[in-house]
């Protein structure tokens, strides 16, 4: 299994993201995954840069690592034609090493333009149509599309990469898994759940299965647990609330009863390399081909040291 590094747009300033991406390449991660948000989940995470500018910056300072979105939503706040152009440019700036991870989005980021937040079935329909629009435009030439959710008229993407990027689709439930398996070039998951990976494959899903895992290294375990709880109590927010709640304030409320223990149970916190290695190995055992590790909090350099010296040798 390949191991990549994940940058949280919700937590990091754009110049730091670029710097850490370069460091991740230096210390040998296979890829860098970047989230795309308009809002962080909660105010304390504190950031939310425009992902396509960050990716441009990363492209200009790296040479080898894969770079991709985990994930962007091409359906509401940004028109899929704009995402098609942005991703084509990213792929040209990162020749042969860009992937476009997409998902059906969260109200947290998509509500801002005042557009209505549709129910899940409609969002999946929109995602499918958006992916079709993106692929249509990537064929080159003048293209039009008059669909149920999107119109594209006489549009052509002039800056096309020599090699088109793969599109990986995020999925949790059965319906989104059907869609991912049908139209994705790969799968994006955030849980080490063998059943999900199996579903993707058994429904005919092709390509790599990539996962994301959060960890919180700190030499003091209590500090690590506190930091993880402070910045990511939202991982304890259950069910579909993550897709439905509209603002960081709502996530604050929904996460207010999540305890430190609950967070630390699902996130490897502290200095024990065995625990960190185990949380990554779970993804390999669940059938993932690649896992992107996200260090919670500002101390990315400490994480790089810890990971290369102590965790990587155990994997």
């Amino acid at each position: 299994m390949e191991i990549g590094y994940s940058l949280s747009s919700e937590e990091l300033r754009p110049a730091d993201m670029v710097r850490f991406a370069r460091r991740a390449e230096e210390v040998g991660f296979s890829g860098v995954a970047v989230s795309d948000h308009f809002h962080p989940w909660i105010d304390r995470q504190g950031q939310s840069p425009f992902v396509w500018s960050v990716i441009g910056g990363i492209a200009s300072v790296t040479e080898r690592v894969k770079v991709g979105t985990t994930v962007t939503c091409p359906t509401v706040r940004v028109h899929p034609a704009a995402v098609a152009q942005a991703a084509a440019t990213a792929a040209d700036m990162l020749p042969g090493r860009f992937f476009l991870g997409v998902g059906s989005g969260e109200n947290l980021n998509e509500h801002i333009t005042g557009a209505r937040w549709p129910e899940t079935e409609v969002r999946l329909e929109m995602l499918e149509e958006a992916i079709a629009v993106i692929r249509l435009l990537w064929q080159g030439g003048m293209r039009s599309h008059h669909g149920r959710h999107y119109t594209v008229e006489n549009a052509r993407i002039y800056t096309l990469p020599a090699q088109l990027p793969p599109i990986y689709v995020s999925a949790y439930g059965a319906k989104s898994m059907d869609l991912a398996a049908r139209v994705g070039d790969g799968y994006v998951g955030t849980m080490p759940d063998a059943h999900m990976v199996e579903q993707y494959t058994s429904k005919g899903g092709r390509g790599p299965k990539i996962g994301g895992v959060k960890v919180c290294w700190h030499e003091d375990e209590d500090q690590a647990r506190k930091l993880a709880h402070d910045l990511w109590p939202t991982i304890g927010v259950p069910g579909e609330l993550g897709q439905e709640l509209p603002t960081p304030a709502h996530f604050e409320q929904a996460a207010s009863r999540v305890t430190v223990d609950e967070v630390a149970e699902s996130i490897a916190c502290g200095p024990d390399p065995g625990r960190h290695a185990e949380s990554i190995r779970e993804y390999a055992e669940a059938g993932y081909d690649e896992v992107y590790v996200q260090q919670i909090g500002p101390d990315q350099e400490g994480f790089f040291r810890f990971f290369t010296d102590e965790v990587a040798p155990r994997l």
Partner: protein, 312 residues
């Protein structure tokens, strides 16, 4: 010019422009090029991220982006704030009321000029509200922002320059801009901006085509710049094919009236002086065609020494 260059070349040129001593670099933002011969159209915000990362001193300005149809102004507000942070305050946002060429692609109606100006005014107002930070809700005549907050913000919001080819757009520039942007060295434009109460920076975009061979420069300019038929035409045609057709009758000698072609230093200096004489205080030079390095050498060795403290 995004219309002419692939993204990595644009980044390289921006770095070289900084080294050659320019004060600022401008980048256009298109979905389509004007003409097939221009051939490119990368996503400007990714190129800007790379330029911010790879340069240290030079100012970075969009010339210009359109925040009203294919992007929602809240998205442009986020993108501009991010590039301002990445460049540590070196970024300014040039905006305009757009061209059908780039905006029609999402299948929305193309509004009349006065409506687009009203939309632009509202969009700038909305972006400035978001740049103040905190949670913002804004229900305008054209756009809504609902419970939105920008978290990645520069210490100071970017300045906004508004493009105008006539008095109506320049009134928008005077009303909401920190400056104006024009593509012809016309003192009347500056006057119109001032009459409307504008007292900010005055940016002009000068097209040049340096080549040691004036005939070759003329041919390149004709091949790639004959689309510049004035904003009433440029704003309305939807596709490169229409610009190809509309510009069929444009002759090389028509293009060279407004493009400084060839190797003659005085010709290029004269073109820059026209802008200064018309009352502009910032001029950006577009070198038409692929030979960006050639122009930068010419600038550094021959033009710049003749310009006393002039802006680049």
């Amino acid at each position: 010019m995004c219309e002419e260059h692939d993204p990595r070349s644009l980044v390289r040129t921006a770095v070289a422009a900084e080294q050659a001593g320019f004060d600022f670099v401008t980048l256009s933002d298109h979905f389509h090029p004007w003409l097939f011969s221009q051939g490119q159209s990368p996503f400007a915000w990714s190129v800007l991220g790379a330029i911010a990362e790879r340069t240290e001193r030079i100012g970075i300005v969009t010339a210009v982006t359109c925040p009203i149809v294919r992007y929602h102004p809240a998205i442009v507000a986020q993108a501009a704030a991010t590039v301002a942070v990445m460049s540590e305050g070196r970024f300014a946002l040039g905006v305009g009321a757009g061209e059908a060429l780039n905006e029609h692609v999402v299948g929305e109606p193309w509004p009349a000029t006065d409506v687009r100006h009203a939309m632009l005014l509202e969009a700038v107002d909305m972006m400035r509200a978001l740049w103040r930070g905190g949670r913002q809700t804004y229900h305008g005549d054209y756009f809504d922002v609902q419970d939105a907050q920008l978290f990645t913000l520069p210490d100071e919001p970017p300045e906004v320059y508004v493009a105008g080819g006539g008095p109506a757009a320049l009134r928008v520039a005077a009303q909401v801009g920190d400056g104006m942007f024009a593509t012809s060295p016309d003192a009347e434009l500056v006057d119109a901006y001032r009459r409307a109460g504008g007292d900010g920076k005055r940016f002009g975009q000068l097209a040049a085509c340096w080549d040691s061979d004036v005939e070759k420069a003329t041919a390149t300019a004709h091949e790639r710049w004959r689309f510049a038929m004035g904003w009433p035409v440029q704003a309305e045609l939807p596709n490169p094919a229409n610009f190809e057709a509309a510009s069929q009758a444009v002759r090389a000698e028509d293009v060279t009236k407004s493009v400084a072609v060839g190797p003659d230093v005085d010709r290029h200096l004269g073109a820059i002086r026209e802008w200064v004489d018309a009352g502009f205080d910032h001029v950006c030079v577009v070198q038409v065609g692929p030979d960006q390095d050639g122009y930068l050498r010419f600038w550094r060795d021959e033009l710049r020494p003749q310009l006393n403290g002039g802006r680049g």
